[in-house]
Amino acid sequence: MNPRIPRACLARAGRSLSLSSVCRVTPRRCFSRARQRLGEHKDDRLRFPGALEAKFTTDLNFHNPKDNDVISCYRVMDSEGVIVDKTYKRDFSDEEAVKLYTDMLGVSIMDLICLDAQRQGRISFYMVSSGEEGIAVGSSSALSVEDVAFAQYREVGFLMQRGFTFTDAMSQLFANIKDPGRGRNMPVHYGSTALNVHTISSPLATQLPHAAGAAYALKMQHLSSPKSSPRIAVCLFGEGAASEGDFHAAFNIAATRGCPVLFICRNNGYAISTPTADQYRGDGIVSRAAGYGINSIRVDGNDILAVREATKRAKDLCLGTSDGGEAKPVFIEAMSYRVSHHSTSDDSFAYRARVEVEDWKRRDNPITRFRKYLENEGLWDDAKETEARLSIKKELLKAFSAAEKEKKPEILSMFEDIYEELTPELKAQRAELKDILERYPDEYDLSEYDKGKDSL
């Protein structure tokens, strides 16, 4: 027993512990910083520990967010694909530039075909990425595949840039025997250990604090083996998800623990039917970062070069290499427009004008903008475009029909991976299900499952 505990307390605590010391209503004490700074204290500054840098003022002024300038949006090229950032120097090869373009093209072609497949009832659900291919592909291209990624659901381009194939995507969409999710997740809930992308889950924003924790793990692992190259965690999410409590939790904990995590928000103007005016009243999401003490930037999400450049610099900042400091979180708000419906279960013309969407399709999107850039650079032309579209479509359709023909995973999969091993309860339930399937064979069609009822 600690000798510093008062004897009177001990006697009482023997029977029941005093809560007075530990109730949540007890004010938290955090004076150590204040004490350290007492020596350098000046009369015009606060002694209160909560804001030691603050000065006193005699002007009674409420801080109005409108007094701040609206945060500018970084772009490298204009909507004609002409470089406007004169300091910009492309740091990747022509081949890589073309690859970025075809990755985006691949996503958009997959979207078209899968949307139709869902309409025909061949897959149960789908979500397209139209208008946001540049954010996913651009950010991914500036990172290493070793950097650990967490996504929301509209970022298949991120995986594809890392090497996710059409076969991988189709296996997941059809929940066939090759689907690593073993037929448990809805379509577009992709994940890959090889590509370091954690499996997507439907609850919004839950992955934000995960990314902070993962980043802290990466930081600790690098500390214990300094010869390994330092890694960051990257987390993508939409502006609607940023209203969740997990956004707040994640930004705050990432900042206080110095986590090398890059948060990227796709601000596409809508969360299903909810326009941003109903989502927040501040200057987008980017203006919040300063409140958490997090470096941030707003970029043009239709400009893949701007997204890539910002992500590259952000990674250096995350690791502290660019400013010689310590690891820390960084935030990018990428502005875009959700050209498509929210999902196959949504008709967005119920809440926005068709003409608004058509305008956006015509005016600007990341694919046509980058195509113009490539054409200006002499790297692309109509013939190449036709050929690329044809070959992508061919490859995709091949993967599509092969995936559709595959068996579904075995039924046993439904009971596994709940715990490391099947518990006695789960074993009993497996046997009970098998018994039902055997005694009522006409009530179930098990033909699509690998091994039928025999896996149980």
């Binding site: 949540r24 448990r184 902070a212 793990a217 965690a233 997990d246 939790a249």
Partner: protein
Amino acid sequence: MKSLRIIRPTAQVLRAVTSSASSTATGRQYSTSPPNARLNIPTDFSTTPILSHSSQSALRNPELSAEVRNSTTKRMNLFQAINDALSTALATDDSVLLFGEDVAFGGVFRCSMNLSQNFGSDRVFNTPLTEQGILGFGIGLAAEGMRPVAEIQFADYVYPAFDQLVNEAAKYRYRDGTNGRGVGGLTVRMPCGGVGHGALYHSQSPESLFTHIPGLRVIMPRGPIQAKGLLLAAIASNDPCIFMEPKALYRAAVEQVPVSSYTLPLSSAEILKPGSDVTVISYGHPLYTCSAAIEHIEKDLGLSVELIDLRTVYPWDKETVLKSVRKTGRCVVVHESMINAGIGAEVAAAIQEDKETFLRLEAPVKRCAGWSIHMPLLYEKLNIPDVARVYDSIKQVTEY
């Protein structure tokens, strides 16, 4: 030691107020029993057979390895045993991290005392005050191969983190499938249960809410030996574990605890005391109440009562329970938390559902638990099952 500086004047003021404002009746009601009470007498933790008061009894446990059984013990209370387990885990595995609100200075219940100093502020640290953040952060750490031990300051405050527990921690491995990632390294500790004056938000026992979530292991120790062995098992487990610590036992329960590192099996119940006429099933703090009630009723009615500690409430050890009830034919389940949809409901249903056990039942299964109310400040003693209620429950099932 900041909090203790605050306690001292508060405690003195409290004593002064109670002794001057009223006579001994109200002043003592808090800690003593009514003058004629025979059953509802406070637990004497220094003599209860639940705890190992000697080295020999502590080391006799066949669940311990021969090496541990040949080692030494040290007198510890529950918070010290937890501190010892955390210290052992941090020392033996670099991937173990400990964090939560106020853990750096030692924790509001002293469970993490000296750990930040000994293992560094990178591994034992305070988080901002956000339960969803603490668990989300822990899940991210575990998903990248660490073994985080997250602390929720009171079980009453776990609800902001419910989404992270239910939808994320519990489902992580399932949805990742053959990708093979999970958050099995995660252990979530939280003080739970009544403490005499915790009222609505410092008394709750939400274990049954967690037992409705496939994927989580839910554990509650009854004393220091278990706290150390089960906590080390939870940290080593590759399933996410909820480790609930009865806060009233932190200082009260003291026993001889093996000094070496050891684990106790998860999802395995323990027969605390064999018997042949009635089976009493409980876990955590009420085991002391059950033990006292059994002592009285065995004397009064000449019964032989078997007492079972579930230890892990999910996935629970159905086999040990069913085997016992088949033998005795009578069963009482005791817990602090609300009766409706509590652990007792599951245990009772499993007993009647098992064909063989159903045929051996001589009386309906009796649940003796908290009423279907919130924990009210003034009425805690009338809400948590006490010796009289457990005694009467056993009497009811024997007289049926």
